[in-house]
Symmetry: C2
Subunit: 361 residues, 2 copies
């Protein structure tokens, strides 16, 4: 059996075997058409489990639960935007919104040299909260794991009785008490909105990276076993944006691997100029043979984040045909990101006091 | 290495090897003299770890933490009184009191056929809370696991990072997610009063049965590893009162094994009359050779619960010498328990509304 370790930092190269083996579904074209967002059009959202239930609620204009979150383990970077924007996409519908700032998870599932204390996790939680508020979440759309309702904690502990050691080991390959805690909280994050003390039974949607599917499957197994009336949670699976260097993931521990949401205009310029592209060695060669945008990290940024379909399509085509040089694309991308993130940074500043209040109470 | 399974229901016959192997200390006579309670005089409290720290605080009239609790897994019986009375003994000193009604623990550490839901655990928690209030605890002396402060839950999860699978298995012999949850909550119960958000660092005392020592040792190991300034918790170890039948423990699943705190006068009479004694087959034989009070369950009840030292001593001596018959001792014990428990039952009735408020909020 293929195992996917959700804590592994290796990029997953080949998704196809996972689709097949674990029963994920691709989005049919007619479903994508109904979902007016670039993530669906551009195949950034790759697959789903039970999205039909959510689409039905959207079309009927009926409520469903919109639940996702981020572990406050570091600064936010462009790679985090997919998850957050998917949440905002569903928030526009008649969704009941639950965005988790997972500070306890961030602390218990990381070694002390990466996350030394709950204080540190909360400090990062304040930072992350200010960013998600700046991106368009409201105070009532989110909660912090360490500062929430009693029923949530009771439920997280309650779930432990529904998971055997074998279920856990089959998914994770090992048992570690910190990771057991983190997992219990994650299952509670996804399932608790359906408790009668919250919104009650209804379909729920959570966006996750494909490498997080073991969590999704175990969460659904747990949902089948709980003593409460709940729907199996639905999931959509998105592609992870890769790092700025060749063959890497975005990582908080390597500043040049990613554009962080609080990077300065100068940082953005430096990082994009150093980013790996699919360009040729000389301008002449590129004009003659064209570049390879499929491996170009700058084109990837545009594909993930630039809102205009035509602009992205033309830019990539022109690069491929050698009509533009990578330097030109970098220049446009720098301008695009500087504008986007300088506006964002202003909003983050305005939300810092509220973020502190939300996290520390 | 000898292992003691804290969830085993087998009575422990021989304590001596545990004292030696695990480094427990007996109470020296001069220490017992300073502790004016029948449990110390009558060797019901058998051993301790670091009680010196508590005795010092008592003598200096300085505060220390008094923390114990009961899992709300059934009705309370006479066997539970030792733990509760030890708590009340320390409460009279300048103690900071934390009595845990462990409803989540009761649910997650027991199979569904014994504890089917959190609702059932809370129903029992209300019953147990009414009883401990009737015994002399105040509302502010106790808390319910499912209805407490956020910091407590954060701390319970936080502790999971400080316990390796090997530490857990060395003590319990197995890993089970429900029991991991129960244990995390138990460590949090004992250690959280020392957090700065509660009373801050100071010695703490917890009374436990000797078969619970693995918990105590692992709790101290965890205390050494946490990121907070805390004292290692102290423990006193009490003898478990045995069941009314020969060779049994008191058990909620066998009504004739125990006197429950809400038994009627009629129940008490029936159960004591059926109890196992060390008596002879005939009155004549008993008058001639005397009985064996060491194995007599009725004498054991008096030793554990009757407040007058001289009465208990004389009763046991007279039975041993054959001056009294077991029937006479049973009659006195029935009267003693009927008086004690009928007063108690009245107080329980008066505390039911408050108990419901405490548990359900």
């Amino acid at each position: 059996m293929a195992k996917i370790d959700p804590w592994s930092s290796q990029a997953i190269e080949n998704y196809e075997h996972v689709f097949k083996e674990f029963g994920l579904k691709k989005f049919p074209d007619e479903m994508k058409k109904k979902l007016n967002h670039r993530f669906f059009k551009r195949n950034i959202v790759m697959a789903h489990r039970d999205y039909e239930k959510i689409l039905k609620k959207i079309q009927e204009k009926k409520p469903f639960i919109n639940i996702t979150g981020i572990a406050s383990s570091g600064k936010l970077h462009l790679g985090h935007l997919v998850d957050i924007e998917l949440f905002l996409f569903h928030k526009q519908m008649d969704a009941k919104n639950f965005f988790t700032i997972a500070d306890i998870d961030a602390y218990v599932s990381r070694p002390d040299n990466k996350m030394p204390s709950m204080e540190k996790a909360k400090e990062l939680a304040i930072n992350n909260t200010a960013h998600v508020l700046a991106l368009g979440l409201n105070e009532k759309d989110l909660y912090v794991q360490s500062n929430y309702e009693k029923k949530y904690y009771e439920f997280a502990f309650e779930l432990s009785k529904k998971i055997t050691k074998n279920m856990f080991e089959a998914v994770y390959g090992h048992v570690d008490l910190g990771k057991i805690s983190a997992s219990l909280l994650q299952y509670a994050d996804i399932l608790h909105p359906q408790l009668k003390e919250f919104e009650g039974k209804m379909p729920s949607i959570t966006g996750i990276g494909l490498d997080q599917d073991p969590h999704a499957r175990l969460t659904r197994d747990v949902a089948r076993r709980v003593n409460h009336e709940i729907e199996l949670p639905s999931f959509v699976y998105f592609k992870h944006q890769s790092g700025l260097k060749q063959g890497t993931k975005m990582s908080a521990s390597d500043p040049y691997s990613a554009i962080f949401l609080d990077d300065s205009n100068e940082d953005i310029k430096k990082k994009i100029n150093k980013a790996f592209t699919g360009g040729r060695n000389t301008a002449e060669e590129q004009r003659k043979s064209g570049a390879n945008p499929d491996i170009c990290k700058v084109c990837e940024i545009l594909t993930f984040h630039h809102p205009e379909d035509d602009f992205v399509k033309n830019t990539i085509e022109n690069e491929k045909k050698g009509k533009t040089l990578c330097g030109d694309v970098k220049k446009m991308t720098i301008e695009f990101l500087q504008e986007m993130l300088s506006k964002h940074r202003e909003k983050v500043e305005k939300n810092k006091t509220l973020a502190e209040k939300i996290v520390l109470g």
